[in-house]
Symmetry: D2
Subunit: 339 residues, 4 copies
């Protein structure tokens, strides 16, 4: 498959290139960038090999004849590029948020402005392969990092009727690469290290995406209070999700549900202790666990992922594997690095 | 005041010594340690001045004639030392957990074994001066770091009847010094850096202490789901507490309640943005804010502190100031360091 | 003393304000900033107290009647402000590099362009009080962080004739706040954490300053190879300086020289183990040690400081204390924080 | 090749297992551990896949019929195990230091006690494939992390006669995993983060190993002053090596020498800027550069590696590839991860 990466200079773009370089079925034919168009790969990603490769612009017309495209572009930038490529018959995996939401209402709620191609909403598959069927899809909207971890933590419990779809509290902790490679004072080492904080309390755009995921799975209307936190680490995302129990399930019952649901899923591992993000870093795995607080009548479900892999580039390649007919795990690391 | 510090070699002990050295009314007359008894201060706390000072054992009989003692001892070790000193007429501030809980039932629930001096329970003042009256107290049980931040975040809202006393979800994030200076593999830099995790889910001993605090304030029975997380930083603690709204208060109403309650409190600052632990590090301040998620009908209240100062040594000195008749802020930093 | 801080919004500016607020003899009468002029202190330094105080512009004409000014401005910006204030009879402590070098030649070598007020060069005292006499000075150029640590490590050995003034290798390690609060991609947490690198190899502007310091002390021409490194920490600077021994002194002889030289210096502590930056962080202390590699005939001298205190704001206040007739240690912390 | 890893529970052991699991020619037949013998892999390395695999003891007799063994054991522990395996005809790659030094004198100098099998010294190949020929070797002593980086930085310059073999100053910076997974207070997050320090000044055991490497390459007697530093990061090692120039070569001449020497070496990349450890992390690459300080007459040569890969497990697999007849790069990552 002749493959292009648009948005090659960011953190997710770098990981996409690393994964594609190591994938036996994908041939990296084009890399597009914005500021760094015209430069070489090694200047933006010195950690990668063959750094002499050229970066072109983020323009599909320059990419030549390609079969598959990954878009790692800022919000708003992938709508037009993705629409153009899809119309041209290219398989597209969009890591951005432009095609994730299913309705105009939901898009407007999340982003505050109408979608440029509203008829496209709902036509892109939501690329969380453990929860949504991608077979037959040509265009995939790859989920955000927070929705990935939150949905993996609670979806089985919700589908099994063990927890309520409302009253869900998702307190999530992310490393700084979740914010991309943007030049903002709040992302300086001098500001981030040795501290922790919440941000976008009650207003983060991933909340409607999480609720959409739950709604699509259950056919009910879910409601989530989502509070993201920035943690002084580069990679990793932990979702701690507290939800009302329906019938007072104990910890064993919650975990049995998770084990059963994920038994056949290559990239999800259910464990009996609180998952650590370090155990997932460097791999495409999600580590999931659950606890019952029977006194209070709530479940505490957790999921740890590497936000740049299962939360971005890894999951996008996983979706591409399904779309292109490769084995779902092709080219994706199951073992992480630690420390 | 001739002052002693028992447990001088730990992190809280080091901060106590630093604060006492800079306090105009306290004279550091004795420092006790366990492993390092017989050694000099500079070997365990090279960051402090006058490192040639000697450390004795953690034995009150060796401390000579003292007026005030701070106990920074491991759980279980302060009961006997504290009881002995109190009986001898010494003012005691115990940073440990031995005298915090008010009843045998609560102690048994938290610690799984009976208290060695059950008649002492409830006789020590709970040393959170912004919420509990310490006037007249001679013996103070200084609160844990998690209860301090959690109670400061929600107590005013609960007292004003804006949130329910049950259904409270406290997801708290702490730097590693909250676990003390213990030699455990899980506290190695190689295990902690670049990762985050929860621990003691549903079983942490600070949960009964938080509930006791709320019960004492309101006269009702509160219920809290408490999930502590370990964050790769040395200092700082953030409590993110979600609680059901009673009457759908909006964000302005929640904050007005906080501003009003803390108007006269030197060490609590109410702010309009999510508090960062870095803004509190190095000071005895607590930064508090609140948000209303009206869709879901919950309040999100947050409090950020330096776990070694407002969460340990600073709060202990604050209590000592009240007990000894000094100004409450004497010797305590209001400005932090950043970065 | 009515005191002004120009360049209040940077990291050194924040520390200056914290120190001045706690200094019994200094009254903070004015704070100037560039981008944040017109704003309040709490928005740029949320860690400080009394955050409602206003910031004015970096314009001396706006500062009113002041006795003392600290300049924490970018390179090139303090020449005019400092010259103006000095001419107006204000005591000035410049934390920048504009007035540090003693000759036009040295300035041109370091900065590549002529000085705007060349007749001022050499008229400002070089503010390293342990090595240079500041008595009688009205205008002080406060040393850079690297020169401070490097000179404190080797000056006594050089003055005693134990090491050669040439062939000196200074490999120095600094935390990121040494680069200020500038918005550069290379200072993002995502780029800095979990890595280390050298920069400005053979070309750093502090090399001529270090050599000037050595030349002024010895009357000889020194030569230093200076390689600065960026370390993933916020504060702290370690100088590891290797220099040829003149007569094969052993470790004891080197340390005896250091102990003797610094015996009366409040802020320099000579120790028998390699100094750690953590032991100096939060204080105005410099920790110094030395080792002899007799096999190879070289001394290894080290100095650890807090780059924002002894390497910037603390040393500037120390110089102001001398200039204004206060005790040299007034308002300056001798104990640091750790962890 | 049926392959065993002894010392599987440490950091290098974990990386060996990850690499062997992904190596098409190696079959992991046995894993030995000390404390964790009898447990499962997932308990000591939760980041790896197939965590249910059992760990046996560090006893070759338990390993069954194996063709290749990697030893990642503490100093002193691999001598006997290695000797036994070698005598039994197993190919052995020892990541420890027991067989690295070539003479009894050198061993005694480094370790202070005689070697248990002195006749084995010099019979094990020194496994730095870019500098030493491993063809025909059956037993390989894999170099230490500091010698690897230091030798790669300066060997070409020394072999070309551009720098002197004496007067070499190696100031090296390592992440904490270089010290292994040992339970020491000085390796706690609370002690390591936000600080930097040197250790083992003039006494580190890698100094004789570095000098041995240089001696073997040049046939001359070299002399190195080696000062290792601990940096608050998990992985990565940077060698900054300053050495006297023989004939005043400029920067271009130094780099031309490096480019020429490493042109055919897969894992060494010569670059024109100071190498960052982050650019090597996660790969088996070494990044090398050099600068001339012509004023002072010295070269500054630098090398950055991932201490757990090119400095330990990766280099060991690279040596095994040569010993076993695989392609040298088989199973080894050329691209790293960043951030």
């Amino acid at each position: 498959m002749r493959t292009a990466v648009f948005g090659a200079s960011g953190y997710a773009g770098g990981e996409l290139i690393r994964l594609i370089d190591g994938h036996p079925g994908l041939d990296l034919a084009y890399m597009g960038a914005h500021t760094h168009a015209g430069g070489v790969l090694g200047d933006v990603h010195p950690q990668l090999s063959n750094g002499h490769r050229l970066l072109g612009p983020n323009d599909p017309a320059e990419a030549g004849d390609i079969d598959l495209a990954f878009l790692a572009l800022p919000h708003g930038a992938s709508a037009t590029v993705g629409h153009h490529l899809a119309a041209a018959g290219v398989k597209v995996i969009d890591l951005g948020s432009d095609f994730r939401l299913d309705t105009e209402e939901r898009y407007l709620e999340a982003y505050g402005s109408p979608h440029p191609y509203p008829d496209q909403l709902g036509k892109w598959a939501y690329g969380l392969p453990e929860l949504f069927d991608l077979s037959g899809a040509q265009w995939v909207a790859s989920p955000g990092c927070y929705p990935t971890a939150t949905l993996l933590a609670v979806a089985p419990l919700l589908l099994a009727g063990l927890i309520e779809p409302t009253g869900i509290i998702a307190d999530c902790l992310s490393g700084v690469t979740g914010a991309g490679r943007a030049l903002k004072e709040e992302l300086l080492f001098g500001e981030v290290a040795e501290g922790v904080r919440a941000y976008a309390v009650t207003t983060h755009r991933h909340r409607p995406e999480i609720e959409m995921g739950l709604d699509l799975l259950t056919g009910k209307t879910s409601r989530v209070t989502f509070t993201p936190h920035l943690v002084p680490m580069q990679r990793g995302l932990l979702a701690t999700v507290t939800a009302p129990l329906v019938q007072g399930s104990n910890t064993s019952e919650l975990r049995a549900c998770l084990y059963d649901f994920y038994r056949t899923k290559t990239f999800v591992e259910v464990i009996d202790v609180p998952p650590q993000t370090r155990w997932a870093a460097g791999s495409n795995r999600a580590l999931v666990s659950a606890f019952s607080d029977e006194r209070q009548g709530v479940a505490i479900a957790q999921c740890a992922i590497d936000n740049l892999l299962k939360g971005a580039a890894g999951q996008a390649v996983q979706a591409a594997n399904v779309v292109c007919g490769f084995s779902e795990a092709e080219g994706l690391p199951l073992a992480g690095w630690m420390p």
